[in-house]
Amino acid sequence: MSDPAQPVSFRGGGFVAQRRRGVGLAVFVVLLLLAEWGTRTGFISQLTLPRPSDVLATFGELYQSGLLFKHLIPSLTRLIVGAAIGASLGIALGVFIGLFSLVRAGLVPLIAAIFPIPKIALLPLFVIWFGIDEASKYALIAFGTFTPTVVATYAAVDNVDRTLIRMGQSFGLSWRSIVGKIVLPGAMPGILSGLRISLTIAIILLVAAEMLGAEYGIGAYILQAGSLYDLERLFAGVVILSVLGVLVSGVIGIIERRVLRWRV
């Protein structure tokens, strides 16, 4: 045949998650440059959006006055203590729900009932139970982290390959070994992706709790700035929160890459 030769057109691209470094950063930089350019040229009014360079200057003042750490350290402590309590209790209960049908039958409806409660609405209750100080904030953050962790954990336990558990039983492994060496590692991917969500919720609740009653803390700082309509300070606070969110997500990403190296 004398038909002209043509390359077979490629149509197999896309639909694959690839790691691309720097793109996320580039998006941030472009948005910031746009805001800076807009506020400088007057295209965006100073009242609508603070100038990024002013926010940076405010941030520098905050750092130099030592107030940054005065706000940051109590916040981080609350976040770490509260989230650690909530996540560990959540993982433990989630595993129990996943393993015992009686616990599941008893508690899943209860979890479903408390999941949609906006936890911040319960802060007065926690203040009565645990006092006005740190304990009520820990409790609020812990409670908020707890419910999504439970749900993610028992779903993850449900998804552990049953044939592996059968295998463990067929080799006469003890119950503890089966749970510790088969169920937990098998549920780890699901637990970690659940933690991503619950830790973000923890940051939101942290700010909410601090807005309702704290002298120091990022939430309190943002509230003060907001009531004075001091947009530079407000944004400086917001940036701290965003950085915190990115850090949490980055740390979980690192843990995932280390712990889940075995995944295909």
Partner: protein, 255 residues
Amino acid sequence: MDLRLQNVSHSYGDTEVLRGIDLEVPSGQIVCIVGPSGCGKSTLLRMLGGLERPASGDILQLGEPPADCLNPLTFIFQDFALLPWRSVRGNVELVLEDHGLPRAKRDAIIDDVLARTKLTEFGAALPKQLSGGMKQRVAIARALAVNPAVMLMDEPLSALDSQTRELLMDDLIALWTRQPFTAVYVTHNLAEAVRLGHKIVVLSRRPGQIREVVELTTPLAERQYGDAGLEAQQQHLWGLMRDEAAAADAELINV
């Protein structure tokens, strides 16, 4: 240690799966169980290994397992059942960890079984790095590590391509020739059954009943690929199974 099944029957709800099975698994022999799919072979094997209780009948263990046997009834699964987060060594070690063996003894066992399954260099590899045939060899190494009295194999080669299957079959025969083990080998592949079985049990379609038990006397090491006598046996078995398989197939479509 021998195993004996006495009049074993089983149902899942309204579905009768096995009916009146009487079977003897003598020590040092490989008993192959063949039958159309869905006739209850896996169920029978799970019962032999204590993973399931029969609705009626008895499953008996005759005699004591050898003293150094860590897990008398040991499975090898069709889908390998390796822990993906553990290395080859770690997967074998898993089944030794609960027995309180001293470190040196444990390492010696692992080295020995990895050598017997030709996996010595791959100790540190993760399952995702291995081919299907190697994964199944890891599973065989893991089973050998507990020094089983009876190996229960549920279509161990069915997930593999035919070349790998041949190679692994040769490996199994070599392992058995060096040190005879007792095994119940479930398969739907008649060629495997006539290569490996001392006794071949043909089950009917569901509810599974024993149609015939064929005893093969040719020593395993002398059974060659394409042997005329074995071909004849295989033809005979196929004759038994063909109608059952056809009927079972039609049944599944009607469901």
